[in-house]
């Protein structure tokens, strides 16, 4: 039988503070390890750190220096076939080892027909789909022993037979499962652009449907706009640039409505130097600080 060396375990959950953090990618592992305090907190995709290999060892070392949030992309909570038990078990083991401050995944699905398609595919917003999604959230929360956050995704189409708005779909999940919401401001902007909605109206629909306390985290990121052959445009959630001015304005609007929250700077393609990410985080912190002062004044 293979031997097994003792593994370090974080003793306690480190809460994620209501300030800006940074999405950690492999390019910056060495930087954050060599510069403790480089960010108030960090968020990673757990799928990149499962098991006991080099990547998991690095994450444990990072966790010894920073509060960590796990932002999953592969639980496929919207899959009619349920949650992959082996994958959920691996995520649960990682949670046990690093005790993340927050755990989240998306309002989407990825698995069907025995395949896993690595994308956040759109849900129909129907009662049947909501039932299935709620059941899958409950499976995950039971396995992890804690509530998770569900992120509103970027969408490129809406199904004709939707029975409710995305915000109502999310609100129903919150009521039924006790989960929270990860409010992705960039996704609000991207979805609004692609569906022909006003971004502010889409954001406010969230606040109208959801209790403010349900929002446990906010994401900020950049997106691309591509021309299509038919002369139209598509906004693509590529996380490859700074957040747009419109996204910063929506963020300020959101913070003025619900107060401060942990805010993440996400950047996944064309990843810049860590200092660029830190500058984006500082920009978010400045907006959060303004809101704190405004709330104190009021």
């Amino acid at each position: 039988m293979p031997g097994r060396a003792p593994q370090p375990h974080a003793a306690h959950v480190a809460p994620i503070p209501a300030v800006a953090g940074i999405g950690l990618r492999a390019l910056h592992h060495d930087h954050v390890l060599a510069n403790p305090g480089a960010s108030a907190w960090l968020e990673v995709h757990p799928e990149n750190y499962l098991g006991e290999g080099v990547a998991a060892d690095i994450l444990i070392a990072v966790r010894e220096r920073y509060p960590i949030s796990l932002h999953a992309t592969g639980l496929s909570l919207g899959s009619v076939g349920g949650v992959d038990a082996d994958h959920l078990s691996a995520i649960a083991e990682l949670c046990r080892r690093i005790q993340p401050g927050l755990i989240s995944d998306h309002l989407s699905w990825s698995a069907a027909n025995g395949m896993h398609l690595p994308d956040l595919l759109p849900m129909p917003y129907t009662r049947e789909a909501q039932d299935i999604f709620a059941r899958n959230i409950e499976t995950v929360q039971a396995a992890l022993g804690r509530a998770i956050l569900i992120e509103n995704p970027s969408v490129y189409l809406a199904f004709a037979d939707n029975e409710m708005h995305e915000a109502e779909f999310l609100a129903g999940l919150v009521r039924r499962t006790g989960c929270g919401v990860l409010l992705d401001i960039n996704n609000i902007a991207v979805s609004a652009a692609n569906l022909g909605e006003a971004p502010t109206a889409r954001l406010h629909a969230m606040f109208d449907a959801l209790p403010a306390a349900a929002v446990g985290e906010i994401h900020l990121a950049g997106h691309a706009v591509r021309d299509l052959p038919d002369g139209s445009h598509v906004a693509i959630d590529d996380h490859g640039s700074p957040a747009s001015d419109a996204v910063w304005q929506l963020f300020a609007d959101a913070v003025s409505r619900i107060g401060t929250r942990p805010v993440l700077i996400e950047w996944d393609t064309e990843i810049p130097a860590f200092d660029v990410l830190a500058d984006e985080a500082a920009k978010a912190d400045a907006i959060l600080t303004t809101e704190v002062r405004r709330a104190e004044f009021v």
């Binding site: 031997g3 690595p118 595919l121 809406a158 038919d230």
Partner: protein, 242 residues
């Protein structure tokens, strides 16, 4: 309205097979075909990137454009079954053998890349092997033996140096590499046939006696080779079982 099962089945099929999406969508600024293409690009792009991370030597040898094409072809035929993309693409070497027969060495380079990747995903711990009741070996649980027919290790070492690559002897011949994890690094070294056979048999839980017989079948000098290549190797520790 199709139910969720039907939507997911049709959507997944449309993404991988390039079919038209046969599900009614609400009016928006993006046509259903364009929306589907965004998802198709994301899915295939993510799988190509996952393969590129696992097979960096293949990528370096064939170039980005060719790798993108062959990896995308692979992804459409062999989509992953799980969300864990580290570990996706085990069949890529055999796929290359069929798709790129003119580069006979390429599958072996892929097999080496795969072994290195899997080794980095293994725990950095040791296993204890009792040899004869009084002597034990300790070596990394990640240790594997790679059996190749082309000089994949030499090719990998020469990547980026066209002159060095040009003078490599690509003549097919059996060869073996030991691969193991050391901290954050993955190490390799060539192994003689007896040493490779010995490790292979131990890893197959066949016991020390069978392992020694397997090694001796290759060479009468097997004990000396095992001693120098395995017992004296930096990854191996010999201890007293008592």
């Amino acid at each position: 309205m199709p139910n969720l099962s039907e939507i997911q089945r049709d959507f997944a099929s449309a993404i991988l097979a390039g079919d038209v999406l046969d599900i009614a969508t609400a009016p928006g600024r993006v046509s259903p075909a364009a929306a589907l293409q965004v998802h198709r690009n994301t899915v295939v792009g993510a799988l190509v990137n996952a393969l590129r991370l696992t097979y960096p030597s293949v990528d370096a040898l064939v170039g980005e454009a060719f790798f993108d094409q062959v990896a995308a072809d692979f992804a459409r035929v062999h989509p992953p079954a799980t969300a864990r993309l580290a570990g996706y693409g085990e069949a890529f070497a055999n796929f290359l053998a069929v798709q790129v027969p003119t580069l006979a060495y390429l599958p072996d380079v892929a097999r080496l890349d795969w072994a290195l990747d899997r080794c980095s995903a293994a725990p950095d711990t040791v296993r204890h092997i009792e040899l004869d009741g009084s002597v034990t070996l300790e070596w990394p649980v990640s240790l594997t033996v790679l059996s190749l027919n082309h000089p994949a290790g030499e090719i990998r070492a020469a990547l980026g140096d066209d002159a060095a690559l040009a003078v490599l002897d690509m003549t097919p011949a059996p060869r073996w590499l030991l691969v193991w994890r050391k901290g954050r690094q993955v190490m390799t070294r060539a192994a003689s046939p007896p040493a490779a056979a010995f490790v292979d048999a131990i890893l197959a839980e066949q016991g020390a006696q069978v392992a020694l017989r397997a090694a001796l079948a290759h060479s009468a000098d097997a004990l000396s080779l095992i001693s120098s290549e395995i017992f004296a190797a930096s990854f191996c520790t010999i201890g007293d079982a008592t």
